[in-house]
Symmetry: C2
Subunit: 528 residues, 2 copies
């Protein structure tokens, strides 16, 4: 791979390359522990100020561009990313340890997201346009002409995720939905894939220029530690935050945001163990097939997904024994996979060790070790529902291919376990027709606990579409009212404004009587 | 007024009368300083627990009732409030000092809000139903069947406002929108109107019974000080908070909510001075008419509105002098009006005194004093834009009929003043046709600063309709993404859930293919 000409090791501040002066970040190839050039010197607070000021300067102009131009900009970013070619795929592979097919698939997903949001901008549903015409003759008081639309919140700080170096990083879902909403974006690059970040950052910068948008619409900053991120979230001109990462990292940002003179929303996607409830009739009928599907979902991509199934609930008995036996034979046949970073590998080992040293959790199966660095060896543990309910630490996420099987004495105990859980991104129900009423009884609990409920699937694999919810009650996310994947993600970066008795020459396009943008309008309470 | 048989001085916990054991609250007639019976003993934390537990128990059942039943419940509450008859009007008058016509109008508005939300429930737009049908043959991966709807957040704590003892109190906008969303409600009664609160609380309780709903859907608690309110917001089964009141009160609740083990959203409507920008051409042409309209808006209801115009921006010159002369003659002709509570009167006097003792603010006019207790005497002060920009304290809200006229040297200074402002509920532009381009230049700033922008009106008078936004950036509210008046207020209490590959027997009604509720559905990205 020759990225010498492309990678400069600089932050990108409103179209300018800025070489930092703070501690350098280097990417590490987790498959070899080799350090990758170039160095990415950390930005200073002055550069945060520069990036956010440029974003603020660009804000009014950017949110005022036509919806068609904004949609075309998102599509242009997708094109520019594709135009990077193999150099992007190779650098992302080297920085993440992820295989080529996965990175290529993720690139496709990233472009798909950008194009989905272009469609969302054109559709205009998120604008939530409303018109209540004047009623000058109403008694006792006339009604004014009132119109309502949603507008962009302001510049957004985005924190890239390590586990999706493309789809949830520099040009990922948070960036795409914020740009779609009309918000400039300042990205804090994830230190695990600085080169991938720079390449994608340059693609966005090129798109900004090609589309004739103000340069401040996008900036990308590097920084080791939390200083740059904190400075971003503290900045008065940042009006919202998108984050995907650890619970401690997300909670830290939530605290900073809540303690600002002007508190701002933080959309942090943090922590989930994604319980799979195998209902009794399904378990009796298809223990082996479900167990195989579970192990496949658990070990895909070294288990490094927010929706990895970290917990399976079974009804104790012969069928559960069969399920476990299949899990054992499947897992024992598996080797290792390279994890994203040495830090993630270390945390994985600590999580496994914590379960190993927990006398209430029994190690059911593990895969075959490897001498390579940073290798995720899959583990499955088992415990009883009673032990699980008595030990909150068993609910801690272990990021990687480790899961805990929980055996219940009764079907009623499924519900007790479900009620006990913290908020989750997903819950899965494996069911047969004969389980329908049992699932119906469990559903209200699951609806209260999670953002997405699956029947007869596995939680890994998050479709990017209009109906997706990648969200859920705390600590799955910081804000259960939102999703970070799918078209509804745009709603996070919008707020309503009402226009009363405006002269027609000043009424925004989306809420004009003639509806030139052809957006859905709620006129006098009726959807047009 | 004979309310002896009706007022028992008890909290209402899930349908039960509970006599508190904590410090008693008595209403005070602010027009006479007379203490009104009965005593309302404060509730204990055990009663908070009882009320919230009942709400939690009721939650799954209540959110599952049919939309028609939920809508009928809201209408039933309206009917029960009307059925209270004159006793409600008289008690509200005695507790608030507000005149009969105002209270009767407010009762109508309260019922209107409940009926509006019944319509919102039937329309089903807030459910935001989405269906992305399965694509089993898609390559490389098939798409699952994905469906999306919004469901209720959970039990909501509502804090009644003093200035709308009906429309923003026990059965006010927060309660109506939370119940419409499917959330049980626990109200902390405002201590200024405990009897009004009890009467309305009994009306809701009667409606809960008549509609056959679980009793925990509604509770009403009394408590002096902040202990009961804090305990409510801290309770793990409370999932959102609605509040209208002071900035300090709202910020205190925001802090409690942000520091819970599971943080929850707080919708606090707090503080706004509602600037009125009189554009130069309009000022030249109609100084006197605009000045008269302004004084009318300023002094309506003793200025005790969240949207009271606390600030007017003028271009220095002859027309501004004419405006001020009219304000002086209008205000000097006015008498006083009774304020809502002795506490509000005291805070008003302190606010006026602070401006009086500010050498940069000149007292332009005051009304005629009165010997009656708790009387709001209108005051108008004047200052220069430069002085205003240099002194943040001049931006503090004075709740009551006091306003500050700010004179600019240039039209450009209007924008500087606007940019300087904190978040507001409203901004008003008084303009003529010749001001259009000047307003166009000011608009982006106003959109960023406020929830509602008015042309050629006055900010008091908040229409309850689909297009209303009674919200705005902090400190106008705690959450600029929301409104507390109008049908969009329901969105505050909803969160999305995705259902993947559900068998048809388990798919919720709003997102079934046959669409039995006839709600708007986004099917494969197209609005049906």
């Amino acid at each position: 791979m020759d990225t010498k000409g492309l990678l400069k090791g600089t932050s990108l501040v409103a179209g300018n390359d800025i070489t930092g002066t703070q501690k350098a970040i280097y990417a590490i190839n987790p498959a070899t522990n080799e350090t990758l050039e170039p160095a990415y010197n950390g930005a200073t607070k002055a550069e945060v100020e520069q990036a956010v000021s440029a974003a603020w300067q660009a804000f009014d102009q950017y949110r005022a561009v036509s919806t068609e131009k904004r949609a075309a900009f998102l599509e242009c970013i997708a094109d520019e990313i594709l135009a990077l070619g193999d150099v992007l795929v190779e650098r992302a592979m080297a920085e993440s340890g992820l295989p080529k097919a996965r990175i290529e698939g993720e690139r496709g997903r990233t472009m798909g997201q950008l194009r989905l949001f272009a469609g969302v901008v054109r559709l205009g549903k998120a604008t939530d346009a409303r018109i209540d015409p004047a009623m000058p003759d109403r008694a006792p008081l006339p009604r004014a002409d009132l119109r309502f639309q949603k507008i962009a919140l302001g510049p957004v700080a985005v924190f890239g995720a390590s586990n999706f170096p493309l789809a949830f990083s520099v040009a990922g879902g948070d960036t795409a939905s914020a740009l779609a909403a009309g918000c400039p974006v300042v990205v804090k690059a994830h230190s695990a894939h600085p080169g991938t970040s720079e390449l994608v950052g340059r693609a966005i910068t090129a798109a900004v220029k090609k589309c004739g948008l103000p340069a401040g619409v996008f900036s990308l900053l590097y920084g080791s530690g939390r200083e740059i991120g904190s400075a971003l979230v503290e900045h008065p001109s940042i009006k919202a935050v998108g984050f995907t990462g650890s619970r401690s990292g997300g909670v830290a940002l939530m605290n900073i945001a809540a303690n600002r003179p002007e508190p701002i929303p933080v959309y942090a996607e943090m922590s989930s163990i994604n319980p799979v409830f195998v209902m009794p009739e399904k378990l009796s009928a298809e223990a082996q097939a479900v167990a195989k599907g579970f192990v496949g979902s658990l070990t895909m991509g070294a288990g490094q997904f927010c929706t990895n199934p970290g917990m399976v609930v079974l009804l104790k008995g012969e069928a559960a024994d069969s399920f476990k036996a299949t899990v054992i034979s499947e897992v024992q046949a598996l080797g290792t996979q390279t994890m994203l970073t040495p830090g993630i590998y270390k945390a994985y080992c600590e999580g496994v060790e914590k379960l190993n040293s927990n006398s209430a959790a029994q190690l059911l199966a593990k895969g075959n070790d490897s001498e390579q660095p940073n290798q995720c060896c899959p583990h499955v543990f088992a415990t009883s529902a009673k032990a699980f309910l008595a030990d909150a630490s068993m609910e801690d996420e272990v990021f990687g291919s480790t899961s805990l099987i929980i055996e219940c004495d009764t079907l009623d105990e499924y519900k007790v376990v479900a009620e006990h859980l913290e908020g989750q991104l997903t819950a899965t129900v494996q069911m047969s027709d004969a389980d329908v009423e049992a699932v119906r009884a469990l559903l209200p609990t699951l609806e209260r606990k999670v953002g997405r409920i699956l029947c007869n699937g596995y939680p890994t694999g998050v479709e990017v579409c209009h109906s997706m919810v990648h969200g859920g009650p705390f600590p799955a996310t910081s804000d259960s009212r939102s999703t970070s994947v799918g078209s509804a993600a745009i709603d996070r970066f919008l707020r309503p404004v009402c226009y009363q008795d405006f002269p027609s020459s000043l009424i925004p396009e989306a809420i004009q009587d003639q509806n030139p943008l052809n957006v859905p309008q709620l006129v006098d309470g009726k959807l047009q």
